[in-house]
Symmetry: C2
Subunit: 103 residues, 2 copies
DNA sequence: ATAAGATATGTCATATCTGACATATAGTCA
DNA sequence: TGACTATATGTCAGATATGACATATCTTAT
């Protein structure tokens, strides 16, 4: 890698080819999983508070009971996209998800 | 649909087979797109403020320049997952994305 | 304990997303 | 202007996520 590029990447918080890089990757991964899990739990909480079964909720989002179970358990095959779409289904227009953005 | 189930769905804010349902779907879709676009713009802003090119940033996230361009333009083939992972790469551990959760 | 309903787990064909590449367009500077 | 760098757009083969299904396990009521 040329010197110049390395400087730029370091400016973005990277230390190339070092332990730091490894730790950063783990950190990102951890935060990503944490985020997903939080969405999962929130979804489950909302569904339960509405006294809807996974089966009924699956119909609302045109999915299946098994996938809803996977959503709520934080299964690795479930994307944030699916979780967000599901949460939006359970929200009234006023309680917008747009408030959950980076600040 | 049986009467009982319909009641449950209505409790979750649905009016089955009506104009309301149609509007709700549009509303969700709109919020989903709005969310994605906001993440897109945030990503672009962060990358630019760090004076990193799309090409260099692509290397950081093990992707390609073209996909970074698509991320920043809100291309429909880009998932929230990819945007979030990318944003996490540009954040220092302290500025966690975990603060952007549903409240 | 046992039946019934709800939720979890495993699998799979199909749909969708991905990085990569080619190439077009926009921006910058001599 | 033209050369150079950055960004945008189109395409595609391979990778990953999806809904659906079968079936297992948990929960609850009797």
């Amino acid at each position: 890698m040329e010197k110049n590029k390395q400087k730029k990447l370091e400016a973005a918080g990277w230390r190339i080819g070092t332990v730091d890089e490894f730790l950063n990757l783990n950190q990102q991964e951890a935060e990503y999983i944490e985020l997903k899990l939080s969405l999962s739990k929130n979804l489950q909480k909302r569904r339960r508070s509405l006294k809807i079964t996974q089966k009924d909720f699956a119909k609302m989002i045109k999915s299946s009971q098994s996938r809803v179970a996977k959503m709520e358990s934080g299964d690795p095959t479930v994307t944030i996209d699916l979780l967000v779409k599901s949460l939006l289904t359970l929200k009234t227009p006023k309680n917008s998800l747009s408030r959950i953005l980076p600040r």
